[in-house]
Subunit: 138 residues, 4 copies
């Protein structure tokens, strides 16, 4: 069972990373080593051409990955991102962005995961992220 | 001479990437293939422990790199980030973040650069970014 | 249908990237936008502790990705890697390394893919790679 | 003072990473948190067009970074690369490759550095690497 629920995570997140909430990011599902999140579409964050701005995608990816990490280690607030690498693949539609994170390694000191990002309701990846979190000693 | 001034860039940015403006990012200097930017410290974007959130750093880095690219190719709005990789090195102080971008390659199709990020007034890097932009054909 | 067979690819590779052949890398399967390759275990490339050295993994990943790209665009020898990012996840066993590449984007100018690397016969990833190739204009 | 000399490093490397030696890589200078290395040009590693193959650059970068890490922490053989990200910027000449590594962070658990790679005697970067090493607990 995941060590944290979306609701518990949300309450951490409100305190911890207010910017992400501001950007309209939320967590919808948490599994064991996985999480699904969403950035609600907001006209004010568009780029010309009607696409969602890169920083929203990066913020969402980091956030969803954080939920996936906590799903395995519980409420360890001091886990921090050490590396995030994003490939932007296609222009997002003017639509919500949905992100799926899954861990590919959980060690004592480092967790590594991937995040796939989609425009809601579409099939092609708009961006792909790999992300490393550092886990503090007990 | 740079092909764009900070003022011209600012007017593009207001239209083009409103989110970055919202996050309090601005460009202070533009050279030939270089740019300096700043994210103004805002309490509402803090993380616990009083540090500036990762998404602000990523947004600022992307933005400053965009200015460095336009300094060489002029007002080509459709240049887009294809890859951004960030290493978070030290916790930022509760202070403005200052970022210095410089191009390490400018080809016909791709521009690659680095961004160094500091807490204002401090000497140690808080984050380091490499970033690739795709440049559209004429 | 893939635009190149493992045999055709092998003959390109012998000329084109002799180092990879030297390292014992070969391509076993090519699909549409996918490829499977192998680095044969050789005691002389071990690191202490009996694990396969990182450079062998990086060389294999780049090679398999190249096969996946050619599977879609055919024999375009001047496609070149522009970015490769690898996360080393677990120590490889003293055993062959098997790598699976798949494209996540194929544009006119850039191809992006992922490579998963395993010790032969084992289930856990030993390394994960994302890789970008630049495709020359026709 | 660096905690290891090029000669001491060479003797570790011969045992530890024979592949790198095979590829003709050696360390020429070690400073405090810095190192310079070289991959000797060998016709057999060429790619068509007379350029040095990518895997040689990646192997050299990883090797030089390892020397830079040991320059600060001494002979800790179990330090391992966790992430390496390379941008290939220009085609190398048919010539030795020279690489300069420098640490940008040395923590208790992670070391992060950059490596700049040049064709010997030329001024433009051929590749740029960022690299993270995990440092084992005492």
């Amino acid at each position: 069972m995941p060590k944290i629920t979306p609701r518990e995570f949300e309450s951490i997140a409100k305190d911890r990373v207010p910017i992400v909430n501001y950007l309209g990011c939320s967590i919808e599902e948490i599994g064991e080593g996985t999480a699904k999140g969403r950035a609600v579409y907001r006209e004010e964050f568009l780029r010309p051409g009607g696409t969602v701005a890169g920083p929203v995608l990066m913020a969402l990816a980091d956030f969803v990955m954080y939920a996936a990490v906590l799903s395995k280690i519980g409420r360890v607030e001091l886990a921090v991102t050490t590396n995030l690498s994003i490939n932007f693949l296609r222009r997002p539609s003017p639509n919500d962005v949905v992100a799926y994170a899954s861990l590919i390694k959980l060690g004592k000191r480092l967790a590594v995961g991937e995040v796939d990002l989609y425009s809601d309701g579409e099939e092609e990846l708009i961006a792909h992220v790999t992300c490393t979190y550092s886990i503090p000693p007990d």
